[in-house]
């Protein structure tokens, strides 16, 4: 029983970082109907921005803000350099995928150049290493903080999308660019903001996961991209609440399959689930009760 509870705790904190990352992927997909392959690179970038900020001795909340803004700016760059140019030139939508992938590789190369290929670690901060034993379950303060920060980011995104003027603009563009233009929504600026939000979410999750595992490397983005795609299928493409639920589901599946089945089949279970979902409920696990998109 205590193993079960322990894995539940681990799975929830891991899943919350997946959820934050996947919200960004699904946001871009919902608005532009494209997959931004550079999202994994923003994740890696956010982890390094956070690392540098932490080494400068900034307090933890500021480190998070640096990772958020850094990731967001990378997202803005990808929109300005690639996606906007491609839209203006009437490029094929597959071209965006190729170009964003090339951008991701450039960023991985750049990170190797600047930070080296070695795995790096966040400087130890005494406060976050506290942990409690409750009924045989070890809960780290770090895990709690990560969960709380993730939940706050989710709430913040939900607030922006549902209540603010920008959020209404984003949802209008997601519904139809032409309609948005007719009713006077500044489409270009709205898409730019969407990319900033998605990049910021990726950067924040990079910093959070970098802290959780205490590993930062130039290659951490690739694997995360795979997980992000898995989560957005689980939750339904372009479905933000679905991505949150899917993130937690994937985190729990991974942790429990390591504990109860076998560590080597951790990924197979997740991907097998994707197949099943695509066949049975192609709009995602949560399509039944969540109709609204991005």
């Amino acid at each position: 029983m205590s193993t079960f509870l322990q894995q539940l705790v681990n799975g929830i904190s891991l899943g919350s970082t997946y959820a934050v990352f996947a919200m960004g992927c699904t946001l871009i997909f919902g608005v532009l109907n494209i997959v931004n392959m550079a999202q994994g690179a923003f994740f890696m970038g956010g982890a390094y921005f956070g690392l540098e900020a932490a080494r400068l001795g900034l307090p933890a909340p500021l480190v998070l803000v640096v990772a958020l803004i850094g990731g967001g700016l990378l997202g803005v760059v990808s929109e300005l350099v690639i996606f906007r140019t491609l839209r203006a030139r009437g490029g094929h939508r597959w071209m965006g995928l190729v170009a964003s992938l090339a951008l991701a590789r450039m960023m991985v190369g750049l990170a190797q150049e600047v930070f080296g290929t070695q795995v790096q670690r966040y400087p130890a901060s005494g406060v976050l290493e506290i942990s409690w034993e409750i009924g045989g379950v070890r809960i780290q303060l770090l895990q709690v903080v990560i969960l709380v920060v993730s939940l706050m980011l989710m709430a913040l995104l939900a607030f922006v999308l549902q209540r603010s003027r920008t959020g209404r603009a984003i949802r209008t563009v997601a519904f139809s660019e032409d309609v948005a233009r007719i009713v006077g929504v500044p489409v270009g600026r709205t898409i730019l903001i969407t990319f900033f939000l998605a990049g910021a979410l990726a950067g924040a999750s990079g910093m959070l996961l970098g802290n959780l595992f205490n590993v930062v490397s130039p290659f951490m983005g690739e694997q995360m991209l795979v997980k992000g795609l898995t989560v957005i299928i689980l939750g339904g493409l372009g479905n933000v609440p679905g991505a949150v639920a899917g993130g937690f589901v994937l985190g729990l599946i991974e942790v429990f399959s390591v504990a109860y089945v076998s560590s080597s089949f951790r990924d197979a279970i997740g991907f097998g689930l994707i197949f099943f979902i695509l066949l049975v409920k192609p709009n995602g696990l949560f399509s039944g009760f969540v109709e609204r998109r991005a």
Binding site: L86, G91, H92, G109, L237, F275, P282
Partner: protein, 298 residues
Amino acid sequence: MSAWIGQFFASYSNIIDLCLLNSLIAYGLFLALSANMFSLATGGFMALGAYCSVYCTMELGWPFAPAVIAGSLLSALGAALIGAPVLRLRGDYFMLATFAFTEVVRVIALNWDSVTGGAIGIVSIPRYTETWHLALAVVVILYVTYTLRRSYFGRAIAAIKQDDVVAQSMGVNVFAHRLSLFIASGFICGAAGALAAHLNYFIGPSDFGLLRSVDALIYPILGGVNSLVGPVVGAIFTTILPEALRFSNQLREILMGALVVAIVLYLPGGAMSVLNLRRRRTGARGVELAAQPGSAKT
């Protein structure tokens, strides 16, 4: 002169083999893309073809040719099994399902130690693949694609590419056409995997992941999805470029990425649209259709 040619082949034969192999893969993807199927299954198909053919030659002692065919057929079967349910879904779900397929195959390869050698992979595979095998395969696929594009089937595919709903309403069986193209794509990628395995002495699960699939997509897209020679151009370009940039191992990835981005931005219809630019200037119409953003929605 002939001595010079001999020396040229001796020192560049690896790169030539690689260019031919990647061209073969590029045509597998070209077939899928020509019906708007954005397939990320290449890695999975290649893995099926590679492991099956290696099992046939090394464990069962089969000759090379039947082993390659067995690998290709297994991979085509895989394409049929995932294509049949998934091709009825909307375009993006197809992409994600093929992505899931590749990852499932990779994870199985990683864990089925008795056949695939697990994470270590299979080493000291006998080298059976000759350059002329690859060249022949590319020529055959080039010829088949050329004839196919001029047939009724090819025109039906062209209609599906423009708009599958209209094609369906004109009596084209969209599902059957897509499925048969996808199976053909699986067959070619499986053959490429089998040939690659007997070229490199070594295969391992990490050769066949998402990156492999995306690389394979880059060849035809970069070369141009509307032109018959586009895949070859894209494949050769992306194979030679890293070799040409070998002088700076560190900056290679960055330069490579920057070049690809530049091509995509300045030639959004692919490298082969250079020709179309000239044609458009001289007044020929119709080529612009291909580059319109909305035309790819499925």
